[in-house]
Amino acid sequence: MLNIKDLYTAVENKKILEGLNLSVNAGEVHAIMGPNGSGKSTLANILAGKDGYQVTQGSVTYEDKNLLELSPEERARKGVFLAFQYPVEIPGVNNIYLLKAALNAIRKHKSEPELDAMEFMSLVKEKMKLVQMNEDLLTRSVNEGFSGGEKKRNEVFQMAILEPKLAILDETDSGLDIDALKIVAEGVNSLRNKERAFILVTHYQRLLNYIKPDYVHVLSKGKIIKSGGPELAIELEEKGYDWIH
């Protein structure tokens, strides 16, 4: 599904990724771990198409197409979803209004009929349960005045509605207490299936207690220096990142 080959990137001429390779197949869950500043969030942002990053070398293919040539909205419509580390507040824009616009843009791209208000609401009611979303968060402005946990839950809720093929979760566990972490993890787990791939970007191992990855990669200084199974995460937790060098 996703193939990253020898990827080099820079922000304002500062090198961030330096020769990153990663291959993700449908149905797999990959955890990308690493110390602060190793390039984890950069990787997530580049895959989603955020402005401001220069790709100086390498390639990223997604479903056999050059991902880097697509605009952010095209990527989203083709099934790439980023759960933001810091979800943005948009005052005055109704949370589910944005979500309905997003879902219908994606459905339109797939030549599926747009959902009307009734159909959409029944979908919302069904998916809300996955992350135990509080109903009043639906009609509030996007992320405005949400607690850290509510914002992250809202991201997973959006993911549940939009049903992406490739979901990238950028530090979704940060700022969550243990109960919220469990809820978010259960939400993610319920969305796992054979067609859908996940990339979990995380600093800590604790998320992986609840979402069991197929692969764990350690990112350091812009490239993956070690890959393994779930046991690698536990080893990292015990020994720290320095142990790998």
Partner: protein, 482 residues
Amino acid sequence: MSTNTENFEKLVKKEYEHGFVTDIDADTIPPGLSEEIITFISNKKEEPQWLLDWRLKAYRQWLKMKDPTWAKLDIEHIDYQAISYYSAPKSKEDAPKSLDEVDPKLLETYQKLGIPLDEQKMLSGVAVDAVFDSVSVATTFKQKLADAGVIFCSFSEAVKEHPDLVKQYLGSVVPAADNFFAALNSAVFTDGSFCYIPKGVRCPMELSTYFRINASNTGQFERTLIIADEESHVSYLEGCTAPMRDENQLHAAVVELVALKDAEIKYSTVQNWYPGDENGVGGIYNFVTKRGDCRGDNSKISWTQVETGSAITWKYPSCLLKGNNSIGEFYSVAVTNNYQQADTGTKMIHIGNNTSSTIISKGISARHAQNVYRGLVKISKNANGARNYSQCDSLLMGDQCGAHTFPYIETKNSNAKVEHEATTSKISDDQLFYCLQRGIAEEDAINMIVNGFCKEVFKELPMEFAVEAQKLLGVTLEGAVG
């Protein structure tokens, strides 16, 4: 006079070079302003002597006045002698009794503008007093309003049918010589709307007037007077469009509102006159004086405006809070794009005890546009317990536009409570990226963010206006980012 009239009627009407133009035999007088012209207008409209005298008095005072220069506006010199001050559709001469008698081309123009004059739209519950080139042509729902005792008619008709009310209230809120543009309007106004809601009546429908500027070189000088008698309630909608054209057109309207004891007036405007092209050529000059007088205790006047059009907007809908416990509100969205300039805001003058006012202003500027909020909150010495809350937010799109806020506060009473908040922000790349990452197209995302920014104002608009306003905002800002 009669030879003059003939000469006037011989005048050839210029054709538009752009936009859709209704080919109607307009009855236009030559450019210029003088006591003769004013007398001609007054005679043409068969006005009583007192009104002619009032006009002439205003004109003589206007001659001594100068254009205001304090606003942050760059205005080209206006030659007031180059403007024609009267233009009426010919069909007025035959006095249409119903829509069937109205020139079909006129109706067609209204339909292009989406004005609900036809049978089907009458069902939508909006009474329309449509102003086409200064003279009202058709009024609907008269009967239903008449049953409730509400008077809603053209200003000319009010002068003929309800002279006492007009005489009592005309100029009582905005005096003839209030300011340069108000004095000009008082001298030459040709028509407008009049509305009287009797004591204890809740107006059974929203009253709506659509304006349209059509004839070339003809300034529009509308006069609106709304009187809400004790314990009455009215919601009034004003919406405007203008065809594409190249020359600057002057528009100087005056709106006066009077709310007596326990009465409430809600006045909503969506203004989308031609703003000029993307190089700043053409567009309407919109110099409007709007003022509401909360004359009685517990009265309330609420202004809501969405200003997206005009090359230049100079407009400060204000409230005089004379009655005890009276309330004034001002909700505004002003959008400027390309080379548009807007200097707009409000004045809240607290005179009575326990008066309160709320000001919510949202300014949006894109490309090279300049957007100014200018407001005055004045608490007079005897206004005990007065309260004001002001919030002025500006949104910038691009880095060549400007937003400016000039909030003036004058408090002569120490127990007044005045709060002011102001913010300026840009549409953030992060907000935009968030929407794009969810699959939403850039234009839609911008629309969504901008409409979100304006939500506090839009929610004050009647439903159908709110929908129109949102669409308008999208059209106005098309392609402004990116």
